[in-house]
């Protein structure tokens, strides 16, 4: 259950969520502006006894250009999304522009018992699914004091 205590400590994620919830609570009419630009990609995180599962809602990417790194228990998802908007000289009018464009980076700190060498990554329908296995030898260890 280590991973459960991870996220309440992530103050920015908490703020993000609070902001989103407030927006959703007050936004009763279907606004033409949409809502929630609190982070691209949006992340859902969960786990089973054997693995940690991360879902990044990152539509419109080239899977070969998504950068996923694990360094000392910190997972980073990085990349860039091209804009769909026409060039400035094109004869076109942009009526709504809500979709994210540009570089993005999201960081998740992983629980201690995951194995960074056993990561499955799959990109399907615009969702990046990372499955990181937990180590089997996650038993507590006694450290000798000299």
């Amino acid at each position: 259950m280590i991973y459960r205590s991870l996220f309440p400590r992530d103050i920015f994620a908490e703020f993000d969520r609070l902001q989103r919830d407030l927006q959703q609570a007050f936004d009763t009419s279907p606004s033409i502006r949409g809502f929630g630009r609190g982070g691209y990609p949006a992340l859902n995180v969960g786990g089973t006894a054997q693995s940690v599962e991360i879902y990044a809602f990152a539509p419109g990417l080239d899977p070969a250009k998504i950068d996923v790194n694990i360094d000392r228990g910190v997972l980073t998802i990085e990349g860039e999304r091209a804009s769909a908007l026409p060039a400035a000289e094109a004869k076109a009018a942009v009526h709504i522009n809500e979709r994210f464009a540009g570089r993005f980076r999201r960081v998740v700190s992983l629980p201690d018992d995951v194995d960074p060498n056993a990561v499955g990554a799959e990109y399907r329908d615009g969702v990046l699914h990372l499955s990181i296995r937990r180590r089997e030898s996650a038993a507590p260890r006694r450290i000798q004091v000299q």
Binding site: A42, G46, G47, T48, L61, Y123
Partner: protein, 122 residues
């Protein structure tokens, strides 16, 4: 009548507004909508009178016994409704779904297409 009831029930279900880009050029409108997690089969596009409805269900392959610890996408459904204007031709909408991005091309009707006017000098 029963149809109407089920329809209102359906529209009452919670759904997230997907972010969109809408671009208009001389021959029509291009709409992009972010629908991550929606497969082709789970996408529902409807045009009724002059109303365009985009609806999609999020389908994720989750392992057994998954417990969520943090969720930014908590409603597994997208819905967004647009009114189309008269000069658009709803019969000729082309849709394409790639990596969770829906691209709709709605051309303008024949009579609304741009036309170069020849000026004759006599």
């Amino acid at each position: 009548m029963t149809n109407d009831v089920s329809k209102t029930e359906e529209s009452r279900r919670d759904a997230v507004l997907p972010p969109v880009d809408v671009i208009e050029d001389s021959t029509g409108i291009t709409l992009y909508a972010d629908l991550p997690g929606v497969s082709k089969e789970a996408l529902n596009l409807r045009v009724e009178a002059d109303t365009l409805t985009i609806e999609g269900e999020v389908g994720l392959a989750t392992p057994e016994g998954l417990q969520a610890s943090h969720a930014e996408v908590s409603v597994p459904r997208y819905r967004r409704v647009f009114s189309l204007s008269k000069e658009l031709d709803p019969e000729k909408i082309a849709a394409e779904l790639t990596h969770g991005v829906l691209k709709l091309r709605i051309p303008k009707a024949e009579h609304a297409q741009p036309r170069k006017v020849q000026i004759r000098v006599s």
